[in-house]
């Protein structure tokens, strides 16, 4: 899934051009933060800070492709830092239900999957979010997070095992 892009001109920090950038990438940035935190207010805070940082560094980014990679990277790191600062390690039953309804499919299943993902350790969780929300390949995730490709692959494998265990019987219904 590529960014919901519009045509972006030169990489300037002028307000009209920057407004186009915000509108083009706000869903991507907000969703990464939201699927990571499972909290809309926290996700908005992170997304706003990411765009303010983008405005400060825009002149050093060469192209739109760089902007997307940069946004994924900065959002991911801010999410991990946020989780660290809250010493977040929530048990499954303390993770809130999602406020917004999933757009398609079984809403109950989607909510269960989201809660299970939100209970993963932060560094593994961000890998899952980038893989299944942004559809990034392990090599791209490795570049964004500064990890080795094999590490990303093993984290994905491990996280799928954990999710299968957490979802237990519910997933059995799906996989049957």
């Amino acid at each position: 899934m590529m960014a919901d892009t519009t045509a972006i001109g030169t990489m300037t920090a002028d307000l009209p051009e920057f407004a186009d950038l915000v509108r083009a990438y706000q869903r991507m940035v907000f969703s990464i933060a939201y699927h990571f935190l499972h909290d809309r207010a926290g996700a908005e805070d992170i997304a706003q800070e990411v765009f303010l940082q983008l405005h400060r560094t825009l002149s050093s980014l060469k192209s739109e492709a760089h902007i997307r990679a940069w946004l994924c990277k900065v959002t991911s790191h801010r999410c991990i830092d946020y989780a660290r600062s809250r010493k977040e390690d929530l048990p499954l039953d303390r993770i809130p239900e999602p406020v917004s309804k999933p757009s398609s499919g079984d809403p109950l299943m989607a909510a269960l999957v989201q809660r299970a993902v939100a209970s993963l350790p932060p560094k593994v969780r961000i890998v899952v979010v980038l893989r299944y929300q942004e559809d990034l390949e392990p090599a791209e995730i490795a570049r964004v997070l500064g990890l080795r490709v094999n590490t990303v692959k093993s984290q994905l494998h491990r996280s799928l095992d954990i999710l299968r265990q957490k979802l237990g019987g519910t997933l059995g219904d799906v996989e049957s």
């Binding site: 307000l15 991507m28 907000f30 699927h35 908005e44 706003q48 989607a110 993902v117 929300q133 799906v174």
Partner: protein, 109 residues
């Protein structure tokens, strides 16, 4: 793709940000731009210039201090020489006075 991955993709569809999100971001950017005159203080070029000016100031203060010390030392040396000259003169005067007194006593006898 297995069923779990399929469910993950469905559950992780992009969400719409809260209403007015972009406007709030742009308002914060504009707010920061209003304080742009203060931003030059944070620029690396300004910081280097400030560091350079402080270095120059320190060097100038050092040179001035050294000059003062040298002046002071010259003054001390001149004072010591003057004191020595005064002591020699006082010695000579004392000698002359003794001689005058001796001559006066001889004349009285």
């Amino acid at each position: 793709m297995n069923r779990l991955e399929n469910e993950l993709r469905k559950a992780m569809k992009r969400e719409e940000p809260p209403e007015g999100f972009a406007d709030r971001v742009l308002a914060r950017v504009s707010e920061r731009k209003q304080f742009a005159p203060m931003n030059f203080l944070m620029r690396p070029s300004f910081r280097w210039a400030l560091a350079g000016a402080l270095c120059l100031l320190l060097v100038a203060a050092g040179v001035e201090y050294r000059k003062d010390k040298q002046e002071q030392a010259r003054g001390e040396a001149a004072k010591a020489q003057l004191m020595l000259a005064l002591r020699i003169t006082a010695g000579k005067l004392q000698l002359a006075q003794e001689k005058v007194q001796q001559i006066g006593a001889l004349q009285r006898y």
